[in-house]
């Protein structure tokens, strides 16, 4: 934790849409250490994707970013011009996305697309770039790299394309890899392979990773630390063990309970969190989860709770005291 790759303080992101202000992210702090894999979990619309896109300024034009600090590799990204930012993208922070099927240019060969990125970010010649492209494809487990570089994206399966994209992202040895739901569009067997691949490569290159997902299973399998987001705020943050074994927030608990387990009795229903996430155009004054929480008190609707610290790594944003939460959660069963 001493060696921070990314440090973000009170990040806010707004969208202006038809005269309305959508508050997608309402002040979050995130830190990523060297070689660390941090998971960001949350429902759809909790602001997780928007938050990471703000790190790389990849948001649409109607987005406004406000933060006290976004530091990456010793550079404060807030002061950079678009031109300087381009040098950060791909070199310092690389990103892979949800849908590998549409993430590659359909009319250019895989080889050329990889070479283009390598030439741009490393300033090597075409020949060297081609050799590097081949090496990367081999590294990410493409069976016939020689053939693959001549192929077009449509000739590859989704899993293969995601491998290509991971190769592309790692070709320039970035310090941080942001993976925005990299396995959501893939089937489960491929998902495991891709996650393993990310884990392996991170180990090898020492790259830090932010993994966005709404699958807690994925988090447990790959991540070291977890950030739970809801309604544009960070609800709870901690190591994987802390989040899974001693959750300190009712929302985290609700998420954990919603994981289906194999031991579930036949005919029992999947648990879900009742209700809907809050509107971000008109966010509630209090805790965003108050409406759906089973431990609500009056104060929950009036103000946003302070962040409580439970250990050097574990923080949570809830009015309930630690002991009370522990007592309340004691009886809960979920697949650990």
């Amino acid at each position: 934790m001493s060696d921070k790759i990314l440090e973000v303080k009170s990040l806010k992101v707004f969208f202006k849409s038809r005269g309305k202000l959508v508050q997608a992210v309402r002040g979050i702090n995130i830190e990523v250490g060297r070689g660390e894999i941090v998971g960001i979990v949350g429902e759809s619309g909790s602001g997780k994707s928007v938050a990471v896109k703000a790190f790389t300024k990849l948001l649409p034009e109607n987005a406004y970013i406000d933060a006290d600090l976004i530091m990456s590799g010793g550079k404060n990204l807030l002061n950079l011009s678009e031109r300087e930012y381009r040098k950060i993208r791909g070199r310092d922070i690389a990103m892979i996305f949800q849908d590998p099927m549409t993430s590659l240019d359909p009319v250019i060969t895989i080889g050329r697309q990889l070479e283009e990125v390598i030439v741009r970010n490393q300033g090597t010649g075409r020949k060297q770039a081609q050799a590097k492209a081949l090496k990367m494809l081999e590294k990410v487990g493409i069976p016939y790299p020689q053939r693959c570089i001549k192929q077009y994206p449509h000739e590859l399966s989704g899993g293969m394309r995601q491998r290509v994209l991971i190769g592309m992202a790692l070709a320039c040895s970035p310090k941080l890899l942001i993976a925005d739901e990299p396995t959501t569009a893939l089937d489960v067997t491929i998902q495991a392979q891709i996650l393993d691949l990310i884990g392996d490569i991170v180990g090898e290159y020492g790259t830090s990773v932010i993994l966005i997902t709404h699958d807690l299973g994925v988090v447990a399998q790959t991540c070291m630390r977890v950030v739970v987001m809801y309604g544009g705020l960070v609800m709870e943050e901690g190591t994987v063990d802390e989040i899974f074994y001693t959750p300190m927030h009712p929302y985290t608990m609700a998420l954990l309970k919603a994981i289906p387990s194999i031991e579930m009795a036949d005919g029992s229903r999947l648990k879900s969190i009742e209700g809907f996430p809050p509107s971000l155009t008109n966010p509630p004054a209090g805790c965003p989860f108050a409406d759906r929480c089973s431990y609500t008190m009056d104060i929950c609707f009036k103000q946003i709770p302070d962040i409580k610290k439970y250990s050097s790594t574990h923080t949570s944003m809830c009015f309930l005291k630690g002991e009370d939460l522990k007592a309340a959660f004691a009886g809960e069963k979920y697949g650990k």
Binding site: R86, R89, A94, T102, S103, L104, E116, R120, N121
Partner: protein, 317 residues
């Protein structure tokens, strides 16, 4: 690939036949007797009947059709009813004249449209886009003939800069500068008339391409706006544009009917208009068949081109 092309050509044959049948039938249904063009009021009925017999106009319609079709297949396009010249020779002079006018204008408009469309699409809702899109709206709304006449009035009549009739000054048929001077005005009019539609098309394509995921991914890998626009978006936009190119083929014959007749350009459009006016039906039929065939050939061509340039289409059905 070859199989596909052969298959498409075979499919085109019945379509071509259908076009000839429709052309022939329509002209036959027209409330007009071809014999009127050949006779004079002082001829007797016997003479008229003799001419009718001679031209084969007493035969049943299908027989006439077959005879006409056979001739067309042999490259025999018949004679003009009015001037009694061979239509084939007329066409051989007039088609190149039209091509000389349309081809440069269409290609200019096409190239300009790609550039302007890409600029407008990538600067969506900014002043560049508003300017280009606004000009397109104006361009679409302005009738060709009006614009042509305004040009003639200002450049030709008022300022006396350019000649506004024909293709050459008599006696200067071989002078290139003279040709260019005649060429400028109709060329400009045509470019302006082709441009708005094509630009809008490119703009719409560019906008939809810029929304694609790969654009965001490229940005995430440090690509600049221009790299994305010219290396990736342009390529993806050009694919559907190839189709437009094939479909523009029939324009080589009928693309400038109005412009040609306004500038008295000795092309096929003007020829067509004159013969329709005079009910010179062999010419009308020939040109209809010709442009109909070009539509089919153009479509065939764009399909084939498309599967050559788009890697995603390998073995189309």
């Amino acid at each position: 690939m070859l199989r596909y092309i052969v298959k498409r050509i075979l499919q085109a044959v019945p379509l071509m036949l259908l076009i000839t049948i429709i052309c022939f039938a329509l002209i036959n249904l027209a409330p007009y007797d071809a014999i009127d063009a050949l006779t004079t009021p002082d001829m007797t009925q016997v003479e008229i009947d003799a001419i009718r017999q001679e031209y084969g106009l007493n035969d049943p319609v299908p027989v006439q059709y077959i005879r006409w079709l056979k001739n067309i297949c042999r490259g025999e396009f018949g004679y003009s009813l009015l001037s009694h010249t061979k239509i084939k020779y007329d066409l051989m002079v007039r088609i190149p004249a039209t091509i000389k006018l349309i081809l440069p204008s269409y290609l200019t408009a096409y190239t300009l449209a790609i550039i302007l469309g890409l600029i407008a699409g990538s600067c969506r809702n900014r002043w560049q886009d508003k300017l280009i899109d606004g000009m397109c709206s104006v361009g679409l709304a302005v009738p060709t003939f009006w614009f042509a006449m305004i040009m003639m009035y200002i450049l030709g009549y008022k300022l006396k800069l350019l000649p506004f009739i024909g293709m050459h000054t008599i006696g200067k048929e071989n002078s290139f500068t003279d040709y260019i001077r005649h060429f400028i005005m109709p060329y400009t009019v045509l470019v302006i008339s082709f441009l708005p539609d094509l630009t809008r098309y490119v703009r719409a394509l560019a906008i939809s391409q810029l929304k694609e995921d790969y654009v965001l991914v490229q940005r995430a890998f440090g690509a600049s706006k221009y790299e994305i626009l010219f290396k990736h978006v342009a390529r993806n936009v050009l694919l559907p544009l190839v189709t437009k190119l094939g479909m523009a083929l029939p324009m080589l014959v009928t693309g400038a009917v109005i412009t040609e007749s306004i500038f008295s350009w000795p092309g096929i459009g003007q020829y067509f208009l004159k013969s329709v006016d005079a009910l010179d039906y062999p010419i009308v039929m020939d040109i209809l068949v010709l442009s109909g065939s070009l539509v089919i050939i153009g479509n065939l061509l764009s399909d084939i081109l498309y599967c050559i340039v788009d890697p995603r289409i390998k073995e189309p059905g």
